[in-house]
């Protein structure tokens, strides 16, 4: 048995228990973010997929893979979005190398 259960995505609403007003606010915000706006639903689904991979949320990855397909994206486009997000994440790590260089220089002759 894996630590994550696929079925738990369908139980998301249970998080409302004990603090429904906060969950309602979250859901209103979350759903409003999905609608067509200055960005299309298709673009938003690709952003959602890319972010899901970077935050490594298996539920979100499943949901936004499906959503990307249902908004007409293909796997090449989805993979490009995943690469961009992952590259940013890689770059965000790499830029911290400068911190190391700075620290090195500070304590080195």
């Amino acid at each position: 048995m894996s630590y994550y259960n696929e079925e738990d995505l369908g139980r998301f609403g249970e998080i409302a228990e004990h603090k429904p007003e906060l969950f309602e606010k979250f859901m209103a915000w979350y759903q409003a973010c999905q609608d067509d706006g200055a960005l299309s639903k298709r673009e938003k689904a690709l952003i959602g997929l890319a972010v899901s991979v970077v935050v490594q949320c298996p539920y979100c990855i499943d949901a936004y893979t499906q959503s990307s397909l249902e908004n007409g994206s293909n796997q090449e486009q989805m993979t490009e979005a995943i690469h961009l997000a992952s590259a940013i994440r890689g770059g965000a790590s790499l830029i911290h190398g400068i911190q190391s260089h700075n620290a090195h220089d500070k304590i080195s002759m």
Binding site: K41, R42, L69, E70, N74, Q75
Partner: protein, 339 residues
């Protein structure tokens, strides 16, 4: 979970319908909807199961080894109905209708009645023996052509419709364009159909139509009139796929959750009658494949056709009908409502 299960079994003994968390009839009832037919405006004739392709989502289970095809007697009965009752549209489907010996006779004679003729043409049949002149035949008879092209890329198209289908389909659209289809200065209509290539719902029709128009023009310099998005209905070969891939339960949950009451008014079953290759009447092509007959008090065959007895008939429904009511809905002419 399952509250309704209609046992219509397939020839291999498997259930013909998917299990569903809620029954379609129950859903209609709880939404206060009664699904009744209106006036018959489209005669959709499925002329047989013979096809040069064997697509993975085909609700007809059509293929090269199928032998069921319409007889001249049944074609004549359809033509009599068109003439006598002035049905405005004949919609010919299959299989690959062009492989039926009486296909061209049917089209030519139907056009003489004044009816608009739509042919659901799979594009690749154009490359079969004695079929290379199909573009000219369609053009001469002002046939409206509706063709499946599930995506503007090879991988998705071939995965659903078979190896090599994409390349042939692109060449076929080129030949249709060459005789004037989807050209600005003719009335020749070529509509394409998007089907999801897996266990998911179609995109918004206008959005994916714009993608197809841009990509087909930029990549291949091809043109079409409209793109219809059609949801895969969970019966026959597509139900097999859902079951084999472990997607049946989730797909049905998705269809049920996406039930949109606004789709019902414009469902295709409300203004068409579906005729089988034997002449039997059904509410739609999906019901025909399930052998789910039209209401018992309506005429059973094209030989008994009576438009007054068909109007206001109660449409026969089952769980597969969730495929036509999900999201923006689905019909032979694509989406039917706002999602």
């Amino acid at each position: 979970m399952q509250t309704e299960f209609i046992r219509i079994n397939r020839r291999d003994g498997k259930p013909a319908l998917p299990a569903s968390p809620v029954g379609f009839d129950e859903k209609l009832k709880s939404s206060g909807i009664e699904l009744l037919a209106g006036k018959t405006e489209i005669l959709q004739v499925n002329v047989g199961k013979l096809c040069n392709q064997a697509c993975r989502h085909c609700h007809v289970d059509a293929g090269p080894k199928r032998t069921e095809i319409i007889s001249r007697e049944t074609v004549e009965a359809c033509l009599r109905v068109l003439r006598r009752h002035h049905i405005p549209t004949l919609d010919i489907t299959g299989g690959a209708p062009e492989l039926v010996p009486d296909f061209r006779y049917f089209v030519i004679e139907a056009r003489k009645t004044g009816a608009k003729v739509i042919v659901r043409h799979n594009l690749t049949v154009m490359f079969e023996p004695n079929q290379t002149d199909l573009p000219e035949f369609f053009a001469e008879n002002q046939v409206e052509v509706v063709s499946s092209l599930p995506y503007f890329l090879q991988q998705q198209t071939d995965a659903q419709r078979g190896a090599g289908v994409f390349e042939k389909s692109i060449e076929a659209v080129r030949r249709l364009n060459a005789v004037g289809y989807a050209a600005g200065n003719t009335n020749l209509i070529l509509n394409l159909v998007y089907n999801p290539t897996g266990a998911f719902l179609p995109p918004a029709q206008t959005a994916i139509e714009a993608d197809f128009r841009r990509e087909l023009k930029n990549r291949y310099n091809l043109f079409f009139n409209n793109l219809f998005t059609i949801t895969n209905v969970p019966i026959a070969r597509y139900l097999d796929y859902l079951q084999r891939s472990g997607n049946e339960e989730k797909y049905m949950q998705k269809l049920v959750a996406a039930f949109n009451p606004a789709t019902v008014e414009n469902l295709m079953c409300r203004n068409m009658i579906s005729v089988g290759w034997t002449g039997k009447l059904y509410d739609c092509d999906f019901n025909q494949m399930l052998e789910l007959s039209a209401a018992a008090d309506s005429p059973p065959t094209i030989f008994d056709f009576d438009p007054e007895k068909l109007e206001y008939r109660r449409i026969a429904t089952a769980n597969h009908c969730f495929g036509c009511t999900a999201g923006a809905g689905s019909s032979c002419g694509g989406a039917v409502a706002a999602a």
